[in-house]
Structure formats: structure tokens, C-alpha cells
């Protein structure tokens, strides 16, 4: 039965040491019909994800399916960058270094627009970088990453009988709320979903072009700062 229970709904793990921001992100995610778990630290996040100290990419985990290591299925992790003890970047690294967790898409949030920070996270494999305060239009950009994560899990945990493209997508309904707030002071243009689909694993790929990252700065360019 495995993942059948969560077939139609995505489960997002949100990590933030600020209670207000946890409340906010939880509401934003629930509004988009995701199942949400919030934790207040990176270490609690890893605990929730069932991370183990020795669970590294370079250990030979051949016969064991990744699913066995997860306590609960998580389809995406969204984390604050600035946290005491373990930053969002540290958490991202640990997830990407873990053989059982590395396929989980990770999104970083930060209140500070620091290009070097953003680059570092993207290079480490973060799917997106959101500037705080996070908005519904940001959360709407998560869908393709969640879909990708889901497809990957289905592909890995079932014997390959048919090509991935023939697998039914878990959510057949059209995107609920694409751009529901027309007048937005912070503009995220440039077809965000298209640019994020270009990113596969993220580990080797640096930033291909400047305009890909511009939407993530919520309209602020690297230069103007």
C-alpha cells in the first residue's frame, strides 16, 4: 500500500524558528491544499524525515528502497535560512547528502536578499529561494517541484514496467490558484514554472542565466543592491 494514502495530496514539511512565520507558511500551504507539518528547527526536521547519521550518498544502499527510511512521506521541505544551531543551508546539505532523502525537493526562505547566499543554496540543490514574507504567488510555484518529487518516488519504488511519462499524475485538477492577486507590488514574472522545470537535480548545475534567478528576488535585481 505504501504511498497510496498520500496519492492525492502533497505533504510539505515547513521549518522555521519563528512562530509567526510558521503560522504564516502553514496557512499559505494549507490554502493550497497541501498537508503541512511544521517544526521549529533543522534537527527536528531531520528527525521527522527519519534521517540517520550514516545515511550518506556514498554508502552502498543498493537493495533498499528509499521509502523504507522515511517515517512519513514528505514531498517537499520548505525551510527558513536563518535559524540557530542549524541553518536552512545546513539542513539542505544534509538532505541532499542523504541517500534516502536527497530526492526530496527543498525550498529556502529568507528575509534577506543576499545574492551569494541565494547562489550557494541553489548550487547545493535548492529548487527555489523565496524572499520573506512569503506569499501565495510563491507557494503557487511549488507545484512543479512537488510533482517531480512524487513522480520520482513512484518511479523508484515500483518496478519499471512503463515509462514514467505514462504514470498517472496524482493531481489531475488544474492548478488552483495560479495568479490570483493581479496587483502585486512584488512582481515575479518570467514564467517561473518554466524556469524551475529546467532545473533537474541542481547539484552540478550552477546558475545558467541571470534572469532565471531574478524572479526569486521578488523583483529586486542583484545589481541594485
Amino acid at each position: 500500500m505504501g504511498m497510496a494514502a498520500s496519492d492525492s495530496q502533497f505533504h510539505v514539511l515547513a521549518v522555521d524558528d519563528s512562530l509567526i512565520d510558521r503560522k504564516l507558511i502553514e496557512r499559505l500551504l494549507k490554502t493550497s491544499s497541501y498537508i503541512v507539518t511544521t517544526v521549529d528547527s533543522g534537527s527536528k526536521a531531520l528527525e521527522f524525515l527519519g534521517w540517520h547519521e550514516d545515511d550518506r550518498r556514498n554508502t552502498d544502499e543498493t537493495s533498499v528502497s528509499p521509502q523504507n527510511h522515511q517515517e512519513v512521506e514528505v514531498n517537499l521541505v520548505i525551510t527558513d535560512y536563518c535559524m540557530p544551531e542549524m541553518t536552512g543551508y545546513d539542513l539542505l546539505k544534509k538532505i541532499k547528502e542523504s541517500s534516502s532523502l536527497r530526492n526530496i525537493p527543498v525550498v529556502i526562505m529568507s528575509s534577506e536578499n543576499v545574492p551569494s547566499r541565494i547562489n550557494r543554496c541553489l548550487e547545493e540543490g535548492a529548487e527555489e529561494f523565496f524572499l520573506k514574507p512569503v506569499r501565495l504567488s510563491d507557494v503557487n510555484k511549488l507545484k512543479p517541484h512537488l510533482m517531480k518529487g512524487k513522480k520520482q518516488e513512484i518511479h523508484e519504488s515500483t518496478p519499471p514496467q512503463s515509462p514514467p511519462s505514462q504514470l498517472p499524475t496524482p493531481q489531475s485538477s488544474p492548478p488552483q490558484s495560479q495568479l490570483q492577486q493581479p496587483p502585486q507590488p512584488q512582481e515575479q514574472q518570467q514564467q517561473p514554472s518554466q524556469s524551475s522545470n529546467n532545473k533537474r537535480k541542481g547539484m552540478d548545475e550552477g546558475l545558467s542565466s541571470p534572469d532565471r534567478t531574478r524572479p526569486r528576488y521578488n523583483g529586486l535585481t542583484m545589481v541594485s543592491n
Binding site: S18, L19, I20, D21, K23, L24, R27, L28, T31, C82, S111, K132, P133, R135, L136, Q181, P183, P185
Partner: protein, 152 residues
């Protein structure tokens, strides 16, 4: 109902003045948009957390600046938190005061920090007052059977 109309007008005028004077920014509207029938108290909840958190931060800031040897990194950490929470609720003037405050932390300027702590405190209590009035008006509208107008 006439009373509802009056209250709504009062509300609209008041919240518009708050936007105009920079007490609140668009993030507050975002909070209101996240409130619905399934979460009718969302804004009140978030704002209440903001009030509580802020009081604690102000106390922490005051005591950290009173130390024999001031740990400016620690002070900056508190201001960073305050900046974050005020930004998340749309308390623009508080946020801006925090941004300026951080410059003095960077410079390890105790005098500047003390002055800006006072400013942040002032701005916080101002916006707290405004928000309490705003939320009270909302309650009155709802109790009178009306709906709260959403300003865009």
C-alpha cells in the same frame, strides 16, 4: 443596515490612513486574504503572537544593551528577529526602524542602539494600538452582521 455601513466606512477610512502613514503595508492585506471561514481568527492569532513576541524581544533587547559588555551580535540577532516578525505582519514602520537599528549593531554603536531601541519600542506600541483599534472595528462590523471590507 445603517450601522454596518457606518462601521464599514470607519474601518475603510482608518485602515487606509494606516497604509497611507506607513504603519501597515501590503503584507497585512496578505494576512487578511489568508483568513476565511475555515480560519476566521487567523489575523487575530498572528497579530497576537506578534504582540507577545515583540514584548519579549523588547525586554531581551533592553537587558542585552544593559550588560557590562554588550554582545552586539546577540543584540543584532534580536533585532533581526523583530525585523522578521514585523515584516511578516506588515508592521512597516517597526520593520524600517529595525533595519536602521541593525546598522548601529554593525557599528557596535551603543548610543545609536539605545536610541533605536527606543524608536522601535515607540513604533511598536503605536502600531499595536492601531491594530487593536482596527481589529476592534472588525469585530464590531461582524457583530453587527456585516462583512469586513478587503482593501487592495
Amino acid at each position: 443596515m445603517e450601522i454596518v455601513g457606518q462601521l464599514q466606512k470607519q474601518y475603510v477610512d482608518f485602515i487606509n490612513s494606516l497604509f497611507r502613514e506607513g504603519y501597515l503595508d501590503d503584507q497585512y492585506v496578505q494576512l487578511q486574504k489568508l483568513q476565511d471561514d475555515s480560519n476566521p481568527e487567523f489575523v487575530v492569532e498572528v497579530v497576537s503572537i506578534f504582540f507577545e513576541d515583540s514584548e519579549k524581544l523588547l525586554n531581551d533587547l533592553a537587558s542585552s544593551l544593559q550588560q557590562q559588555v554588550v554582545d552586539f551580535k546577540k543584540v543584532d540577532g534580536y533585532v533581526h528577529q523583530f525585523k522578521g516578525s514585523s515584516s511578516s505582519v506588515g508592521a512597516q514602520r517597526v520593520k524600517n526602524a529595525c533595519v536602521a537599528f541593525r546598522n548601529f549593531c554593525d557599528e557596535k554603536n551603543l548610543d545609536g542602539c539605545s536610541r533605536f531601541l527606543n524608536l522601535v519600542k515607540q513604533e511598536f506600541y503605536l502600531v499595536k494600538n492601531k491594530l487593536e483599534t482596527l481589529l476592534r472595528l472588525e469585530q464590531q462590523i461582524l457583530q453587527a452582521g456585516g462583512t469586513v471590507p478587503l482593501i487592495e
